[in-house]
């Protein structure tokens, strides 16, 4: 990821930025780079682009750096940053927007496991209506290759009857239809958009 070219060539008006600003209904030009968001973010210590720098990258139009970072996936959506920003910028919303903006792109190796988790989580209730923790945990462990993650507590969970062996179903399985209709809607909207171009 380290590029040989470290010089920044600002491009303040990118589609990324417009997408993010439309999502949070605020202008990120308001950010005066005080760093309070990073200071309070519980996971900033493990991000390569901290929340303040994400905003900076947006201000300067450094799209590649944003796309290649896992920051928005490491973000816990805890809203600490948004709650404390002196300029009242919804930084958690910025993270959410960046997740949505990059969802169609090929994930970097580091992003993969987060995307996998979300996909599996959604799959776990897409058909039954309700999330199925055990299935999710096992599927994730198998597919991500991180076998030992939850291993230590699984026996305890079983002993306490805290893991159901079979998924619990919602009556009516409404979720399946929701996903179908959503897909239809998104397709229609994409077509409409392509049509206007």
């Amino acid at each position: 990821m380290i590029s040989a070219q470290n010089t920044i060539r600002p491009r303040p008006h990118t589609t990324y930025r417009s997408f993010v600003e439309a999502h949070i209904r605020q202008s990120i030009a308001q950010c005066y780079q005080c760093g309070k968001c990073t200071a309070g973010c519980p996971v900033a210590y493990t991000m390569e682009l901290t929340p303040r720098r994400v905003i900076r990258a947006l201000q300067l139009g450094l799209e590649n750096e944003l796309e290649n970072s896992s920051t928005m996936w490491i973000c816990l959506s805890c809203l600490t940053c948004s709650a404390r920003c002196p300029r009242e910028i919804n930084i958690a919303g910025v993270m959410e927007a960046l997740r949505l903006a990059t969802i169609g792109k090929k994930p970097t190796p580091d992003q993969k496991k987060f995307r996998l988790f979300h996909d599996l989580f959604i799959m776990s209730f897409q058909f039954s209506g309700r999330a199925y923790e055990l299935g999710l945990g096992m599927a994730y462990n198998v597919m991500s290759g991180q076998f030992l993650n939850m291993a230590s507590i699984i026996p305890g969970m079983l002993r306490r009857g805290k893991l159901a062996f079979l998924p619990h179903k919602s009556r009516g399985s409404e979720t399946q239809h929701i996903f179908q209709r959503l897909e239809g809607q998104n397709k229609a909207m994409n077509q409409a958009e392509a049509g206007t171009k």
């Binding site: 496991k113 988790f117 929701i178």
Partner: protein
């Protein structure tokens, strides 16, 4: 004679597995207080932290499904999980937007009435509202409780019902039970949430910080209002202790368990055996069991 209060109730997915004791004691306590909870037979997952990360409309549509149910019942909707509460409340706010409402309606296959006012409450609010109904059989005297709210009850401002940094509702509830809420600075710091799968190191670090701070503040135990937080602070406690080479041993109760205890409900029904960190020694030491 106390009047029964009725609410629509959204248990959330964890209620069927990891948070069985939370749901069970919520029902139990509510029953004891004359609060009726109406659960929708066909409730579905709110999508938690995943749906809104993948598709904005999906993140609203899933919780909206439940809002519509409560709307039909003309009841305020109560959630016991902080994460579900947050998603439901955010969805209720988003539905005020005409365009969003139209799209969500399409996805749900039903029209959503205009100008909707869906009221969402967290179980803490319900408990506080009906505190006067609790008959204190066994005041939690001498029990120092670190109330842990998690990051989502006070944020964002638009949906919060308490201060973002120093919330007080649970402290008031615990005080009303005769317990002693401790002052500590981490009531609303994040526990690591659902990163337990993807980045367990993060959960360990953040939850350890919480446990350590609670203990430092002189707490005997934690009171928790969210299954995700609870699993991180209770189930993971032992492995966190190992990782940080110090045994914590801080029982983490669901707030409903504490209410039940103070109201004199039998310990057996409060399902203390489901907790990973055994609270019985503490309760006996305090003369509460």
């Amino acid at each position: 004679m106390i009047e029964t209060a009725r609410y629509a109730y959204y248990p959330g997915c964890c209620s069927k597995a990891s948070a069985k004791e939370y749901t069970a004691t919520t029902r139990l306590v509510c029953k004891a207080l004359g609060i009726e909870l109406e659960e929708s037979p066909d409730w579905i997952c709110c999508g938690a932290s995943s749906a809104h990360s993948i598709d904005r409309i999906l993140g609203i549509a899933l919780p909206a499904h439940e809002l519509l149910y409560a709307g039909r019942m003309k009841l305020d909707l109560v959630a016991s999980c902080a994460l579900c509460f947050s998603r439901l409340k955010i969805a209720a706010a988003e539905l005020k937007d005409d365009d969003v409402r139209k799209r969500v309606g399409e996805v749900l296959g039903q029209e959503i009435p205009g100008n909707p006012d869906y009221r969402v409450m967290h179980i803490l609010q319900v408990l506080e509202k009906h505190l006067d109904r609790i008959h204190l059989e066994k005041p939690l005297k001498g029990l120092s409780v670190a109330c842990y709210y998690g990051c989502l009850l006070g944020r964002p401002k638009e949906v919060a019902f308490d201060d973002a940094e120093n919330p007080q509702v649970m402290d008031r509830v615990v005080a009303a039970l005769g317990g002693e809420p401790v002052e500590w600075g981490f009531k609303a710091e994040c526990c690591g949430g659902s990163h337990v799968f993807t980045r367990p190191d993060i959960v360990s670090k953040l939850s350890h910080r919480l446990l350590y701070q609670a203990k430092q503040a002189g707490a005997d135990c934690l009171a928790v209002v969210c299954p995700v937080c609870h699993s991180n602070l209770d189930a993971m406690q032992k492995s966190i202790g190992k990782e940080y080479k110090e045994e914590v041993d801080l029982p983490a109760f669901y707030i409903t368990q504490l209410v039940g205890l103070a109201a004199g409900l039998p310990p057996r029904k409060l399902m203390f055996e489901k907790l990973f960190v055994d609270p019985m020694r503490l309760l006996r030491a305090k003369g509460l069991a």
